[in-house]
Amino acid sequence: MNSAVMKKTMFWFVLPALLFYCLFWVFPILKLFQYSITDYNGYVQKFSYVGLDNFKTLFHEEILGLSIRNTLIYTFVTVILGNIVALAIAFLLNANIRAKGLYRSAFYIPTLFSAIVVGFIWSYVYMPDEGLIASFLHKIGINGIDTNFLGSYDKALYSIIAVDIWKNIGTSTIIFLAGLQTVPTDLIEAGKIDGAGRWKLVRYIKIPLLATSVTINVTLSVINGLKAFDYPFVMTNGGPGTSTNTLIYAMYKMAFTDQLFGKASALGIISFALIIVITAAFVFTLNRREISA
């Protein structure tokens, strides 16, 4: 059967890419399933099959629940707070203010740095007693506030999340901004003629029309949150104790420090399943709400 659009033989062009895709992506993932039932240490090539032992130990240890909890908190906060702030900034930057271009660039700048650089800088900002925040508070005469942000069990995770939001806000803002600019002016004018106030315009016209951008941003930040690794790695080493261990960080630690590749693979599979379920749920619910302009 010859298609009118494309000759069948053209599919051969897919082959090289497909080969690489299978070799570097599909095959390793399948390997992960194999390793998850072994005691492979990632290093010595001899290993034996241990059945579901890895999964059993994982379910008995507190690290699984803890890292899932941390990851979910991380995701939840970055999604909600990150997007609300980004949306607010987008509205501000969409308004007719002076030096709009300057502000737009300013909010985008943090996005340009790598996570490592940002994490490193912020670990000095957060440094107790001597860091930027601590000395600023001191300067303006506020004392007695505990400035040990990264070293406290209660605050460390949220301090890291704040940095993540700070860095990624630029991307979300740009997407919202682009969305806002596609809102047709005739709809807004129609709204105005019908007597809608500023808030009503936002609530009933702009936000519903931003649904596509919301889907993109929320999905991106959900994925970003579930994959959180860089900031715990750079800023806290998962600490204090294990209090900022995310799923991916715990996996990394397990594989490369404890040298339990088998167990880490098992954890990988658990988080793989978890991430798929959560992302799928998000995408489906949000897709249904979208309105086409």
């Binding site: 000759k7 069948k8 033989t9 053209m10 599919f11 051969w12 062009f13 082959l15 090289p16 080969l19 990632g42 290093y43 010595v44 090539q45 130990t57 670990s123 000095y124 957060y126 440094m127 107790p128 007693d129 001597e130 400035t147 040990n148 942000f149 990264l150 070293g151 406290s152 069990y153 806290t236 080493n237 998962g238 600490g239 204090p240 104790g241 294990t242 209090s243 630690k253 490369f256 420090t257 404890d258 040298q259 339990l260």
Partner: protein, 462 residues
């Protein structure tokens, strides 16, 4: 017929693509190799000269050889770095056909990278190995067949027995230790004098009393960068050397059979001793929010009187800070009054050779040259090395360690770092559990030791 033809054409195009990609790959390799080829051909006359000069150089023919080397650590702050600059240069002078390509990675990345490379069969020809059972320890590397047996090399008579044993598996050495490292407390002599402490504390009670005096005089007695969790080890192992091992030197051997456990009273006491320093506020509060480099800065700025770390940190500790003062070094005394102080000293990491290297002979010749005790390369190595040499006849470079070292050499009162006999991972649990204590959680010393024992049982495999 036509469709078959076009199919063939399609396959041909597709395979062309692959070839093009493959060509890109090999091109890269050529690029990497070409400088060495060019330089060695230029230098070939002298290659034959050096080959005839030393008859043992069987492999030092003019054939160009590129050896890869992977080590951990950070580049020297100023001047030439031994591993990155001096070593390849001096090797080139002696063996003109040999090009040494050295890569230096931060510790954490080193472990990951070297293991991945070894497992993939693309290990570096020369790499860094740690003593005994530590992470990337000699025993593990030898067992896996990655490190080459070095017992045939000629310089072993010049190396201290202890250093050789710590790098051996089944009686054969697999790496040459850089030297010996000692854990201790670096202290600020001026702050000690100001607080009215006339001599270095020699037992646990007097150490606590000294800390109390320092605290009363308004300085932070001890600063630790606990945000980098591994620094917990620096204090803990010194206490273990006094509290755990003197009464039972084989404690860690018995751990393997289950005769002793990390939950034994001795380890609980060790953890409690270290906990005391935090409970009484001798360690800077907020230490969990401070990285080790930041802690070091506090020490050199004269804001804290002591910092626990090892001989390897001498450059950092003696760096110029906001305050000028004299530094000293002593073993953290975990002992009871009247008993001797035991130091925590252990063999440092050392270079090993890849058993599967294509150029094992050439690499062995470099080792013979590097460790012969007199060559310019050996001198340069000793000169750049902060560890205390384990080679006979090499004098101590750094006066600051003299007291502790003399004590160790005359009495033999020293034990290794505990993690050298633990599977990698146990010390991590110790750190993360102990961090809970630092962070003010209700974790007890018993909880810490229990977590350590559990991890040990999970990880130790005969």
């Amino acid at each position: 017929m036509k469709s078959l033809k076009s199919q063939v054409a399609g396959v041909a195009v597709a395979s062309l693509f692959t070839v093009a990609l493959a060509a890109c790959g090999s091109n890269n390799n050529n690029n990497a190799a070409s400088p060495s080829a060019a330089s060695s051909s230029a230098a070939s006359p002298s290659a034959s000269a050096s080959a005839s000069a030393s008859p043992s150089d069987s492999a030092a023919s003019a054939e160009p050889v590129t050896l890869s080397m992977l080590v951990s650590g950070s580049k020297a702050a100023d001047g030439a770095d031994f591993e990155l600059d001096t070593l390849p240069k001096l090797v080139k002078e002696k063996f003109p056909n040999v090009t040494l390509e050295v890569q230096k990675l931060p510790d954490e990345q080193y472990y990951t990278s070297v293991k991945t490379k070894l497992a993939a069969g693309e290990g570096p020809d020369i790499f860094l190995v740690f003593p005994n059972m530590a992470n990337m320890g000699a025993i593990e590397v030898a067992k896996a067949g990655y490190a080459a047996d070095l017992s045939g090399l000629s310089f072993w008579n010049n190396v201290s027995k202890a250093a050789m044993n710590d790098m051996s598996y089944e009686g054969k050495p697999y790496a040459v230790a850089k030297g010996m490292d000692i854990l201790g407390a670096y202290y600020n002599k001026d702050l000690f004098a100001k607080a009215g402490i006339s001599e270095v504390p020699k037992d646990w009670d007097s150490f606590l009393a000294a800390s109390e005096k320092l605290k009363a005089s308004g300085v932070t007695p001890i600063v630790m960068g606990d945000k980098d969790p591994w620094v917990v080890q620096f204090g803990m192992y010194q206490l273990a050397a006094n509290t755990v091992y003197p009464s039972d030197p084989d404690f860690d051997k018995k751990l393997q059979t289950g005769e002793t456990q990390l939950t034994d009273a001795k380890w609980v006491e060790t953890v409690n001793q270290y906990k005391t320093l935090y409970d009484k506020g001798y360690v800077s509060k907020n230490s969990l929010g401070m990285a080790s480099a930041q802690a070091m800065q506090q020490f050199v700025d004269g804001k804290a009187a002591m910092i626990f770390t090892g001989t390897w940190d001498l450059p950092g500790v003696t760096a110029k800070g906001a305050a000028d003062f004299e530094r000293g070094f002593f073993s953290l005394p975990g002992n009871k009054a009247g008993e001797p102080v035991y130091a925590s000293a252990a063999t440092a990491a050392g270079y090993a050779l890849n058993a599967k290297s294509k150029h094992l002979d050439a690499a062995k010749q470099i080792f013979e040259y590097l460790y012969d005790g007199q060559s310019p390369l050996f001198q340069a190595w000793v000169e750049s090395n902060p560890s205390i040499s384990v080679f006979n006849g090499v004098p101590l470079k750094n006066e600051i360690f003299k007291d502790v070292l003399t004590e160790i050499q005359s009495t033999g009162h020293a034990f290794y770092f505990s993690n050298q006999m633990w599977p990698a991972g146990v010390s991590d649990v110790m750190q993360s559990k102990f961090a809970e204590i630092i962070g003010g959680k209700k974790t007890t010393a018993e909880d810490v030791t229990k977590a350590m024992q559990d991890k040990y049982k999970e990880l130790y495999k005969g």
